[in-house]
């Protein structure tokens, strides 16, 4: 059944977008910053995995290293570029984020070359496809969906049931009051970046297994689309990011399925514009009021 396999594709792509969108949403929820560099953290994760596997490291260890590298990079970017601008106007922060993204992309281009390089996905995910009736579900799809859902469950547990998660929710609700309650805001922000980047790292590996290529600009389009997903779901909202991710993934797969694959990017951005015009806070976002 063509529809079922397209749905599986949509879920697969959607779960990757959801993981990345979660990173965007969490960072935005806590410091009101659109981290343009998020997509490029994904790119770095992909390269780290590819290079470590090529250097002979065991694939699963390489995956762990890649995720750790993403976490470290996210924390470093926060400390170096975003922390000094905590009290600056939002436009400076946004420009800095763009600068960091630009820096990562061009540095990658200079170090590793602009060409796409193959990614050893078969080393990481091994196994045969699953057959349900006469539909074949690839092992990559199964692993992607399962790992993503597991990650989201763990994240939800982290945010809802642990003390650190409570601190994250408190800081994103009201930074000043959270500080008064004795929460170390800077540490919480660093923790948020770490968690968001770790999710991006997982998403990066899954993305590279689905589309086995790494290139310096692979992060930018993925990041933008995941960002659209975060906005659709309601930026700052964790369940929203998940819903948004799946929605954008399904939309993209459906557009390709009807044969309009040239226009995929355009459709995704058109969705963004429609959402921003008619419901800027997204499906599950909280409305922002400005006090004078």
């Amino acid at each position: 059944m063509l529809l079922l396999s397209q749905i599986i594709n949509g879920l697969q792509l959607g779960s990757i977008y959801a993981l990345v969108a979660l990173g965007y949403s969490m960072v935005y929820g806590i410091i009101m910053l659109l981290n343009f560099a998020h997509g490029d953290i994904i790119m770095v994760g992909g390269y780290v995995a590819m290079l470590t596997i090529a250097a002979g490291v065991h694939p699963l260890l390489a995956v762990v290293l890649a995720i750790l590298a993403c976490m470290a990079l996210g924390v470093v970017i926060d400390k170096v570029a975003y922390a000094p601008l905590r009290s600056s106007p939002r436009i400076s922060l946004l420009i800095t984020a763009i600068g960091v993204s630009f820096l990562l992309e061009n540095l990658a281009q200079n170090i590793w070359g602009a060409n796409a390089r193959p990614f050893p996905n078969s080393a990481i995910i091994q196994g045969s496809a699953l057959h349900i009736g006469d539909v074949q579900i690839g092992i990559t799809a199964i692993v992607t969906i399962v790992v993503s859902v597991l990650s989201m469950v763990v994240l939800t547990f982290l945010v809802q049931k642990t003390k650190r998660g409570k601190a994250m929710r408190a800081v994103s609700e009201d930074m000043g009051t959270a500080q008064l309650m004795g929460i170390n805001v800077n540490n919480t922000i660093t923790f948020t970046f770490a968690v968001g980047s770790a999710l991006a790292g997982i998403g990066s590996i899954l993305y590279c297994c689905t589309y086995p290529q790494v290139s310096p600009t692979m992060g930018s389009m993925l990041g933008l689309k995941a960002f659209v997903a975060a906005v659709l779901g309601g930026i700052g909202s964790i369940p929203g990011a998940m819903i948004g991710g799946f929605a954008i993934g399904m939309a993209e797969v459906l557009v390709r399925a009807v044969g309009l694959s040239d226009w995929t990017d355009g459709v995704v951005f058109a969705i963004l514009i429609v959402v921003l015009l008619f419901r800027p806070t997204g499906l599950m976002g909280r409305p922002m009021t400005e006090k004078v």
Partner: protein, 346 residues
């Protein structure tokens, strides 16, 4: 003490006009006598194009205080309009080009209205993303519209080829002068003050009776218009347009010029555009490795400037030759007054 001398308006016009004419004559002289090589002449044309692009982006970024990330989209619209126009009409030569430039600006301005009215309802980050989205949509449409229309309109990925090349120093210079004159006059006027007020505090501006949607759209459309003009000049300079040239990267390049130069300073945008256009060529002749790392250097510069001087290198400094002259005259005058006062007290 003697009163501070203020140069009257007609004399100000004369002084500024004389400056512009002098610069023009200087440029023409250098080119006519081949003091600057033809390679550098080409760079000079690019400098002019990017000056217009940067100054127009400065209107929406520096003066209005927003962050539109789709500027390259407006340049693309202007460039393609001019290119298709010049290729389609039987008229040739400079008059055709002038018409094409004006048409390019108008079409880009219309896009500015279409994009601006929905986009300007949003603030800050959301505006940045929606303009980015629009810029990408323009690029995708330019790439794919031929298959929808059924005939060769934009040339798709292969590009729009065979655009007549009319871009030359006089044309570019006049366009730069007109752009700067228009934007400067607009910002000194009541409209400009409204735009600046919106930048400072939109809610307070609205409370003072400023129609924010109208003025935000006006700034946005002015920005788009001149971006279209720069796109048209670019099209006629290259002779070939490819949608890939006008992606997110191009918007960022121009944004870097505006931010580094100083958001809100026209001189800053002009200087930054000049330096950042010339630097790649200069670097190439000095050291290829440094040239390859140019983008990395720009990014680091951008981050450093944002951390230490968020308003940009020149901040909101507004260059005014007449103010400098006034300052010089008054310093001479004040010394006179002080000396005389000292004598009297004896």
């Amino acid at each position: 003490m003697r009163q501070r001398i203020q140069i009257p308006m007609p004399v100000r016009y004369l002084i500024n006009g004389a400056l512009v004419v002098l610069l023009f004559l200087l440029g023409q002289f250098l080119i006519a006598n081949n003091i600057i090589s033809s390679y550098f002449q080409k760079i000079l044309l690019q400098v002019g194009i990017y000056i217009i692009a940067a100054v127009s982006l400065n209107v929406a970024t520096g003066y209005l205080g927003q962050l539109p990330l789709g500027h390259a989209g407006f340049m693309a619209v202007g460039g393609y309009t001019a290119g298709i126009f010049m290729k389609s009409i039987p008229l040739t030569g400079l008059p055709a080009f002038v018409l094409a430039i004006i048409l390019a600006g108008i079409v880009a301005g219309i896009f500015g209205v279409i994009i601006g009215i929905p986009a300007l309802r949003l603030k800050g980050d959301y505006l940045a993303i929606i303009t980015l989205g629009f810029g990408e949509i323009i690029r995708v449409v330019l790439l794919n519209i031929d298959s929808v229309l059924g005939f060769k309109f934009t040339g798709g990925a292969a590009g729009l080829m065979g655009i007549p090349k009319y871009t030359s120093f006089p044309v570019v210079f006049i366009c730069v002068a007109v752009t700067c004159l228009f934007i400067h006059t607009m910002m000194k006027s009541r409209h400009g003050r409204a735009i600046l007020a919106i930048r400072e505090n939109e809610i307070a501006a609205e409370a003072c009776g400023i129609h924010t949607t109208y003025y935000k759209t006006m700034a946005f459309v002015a920005s788009a218009f001149f971006a279209g003009v720069s796109g048209a000049l670019f099209a006629s300079y290259l002779g070939l347009l490819v949608p890939g040239d006008f992606g997110f990267m191009k918007s960022i390049e121009i944004l870097v010029m505006v931010v580094l130069g100083g958001m809100g300073s026209m001189l800053g945008s002009v200087l930054a555009a000049t330096v950042l256009t010339i630097v790649p060529f200069a670097l190439q002749s000095i050291s290829q490795t440094v040239a390859d790392y140019r983008m990395v250097i720009y990014s680091v510069l951008l981050i450093i400037v944002m951390i230490f001087k968020p308003s940009g290198l020149l901040g909101t400094y507004d260059f005014s030759l007449t103010r400098i002259i006034e300052g010089l005259i008054n310093r001479a005058g004040i010394h006179d007054g002080v000396a005389r006062k000292g004598e009297k007290s004896k």
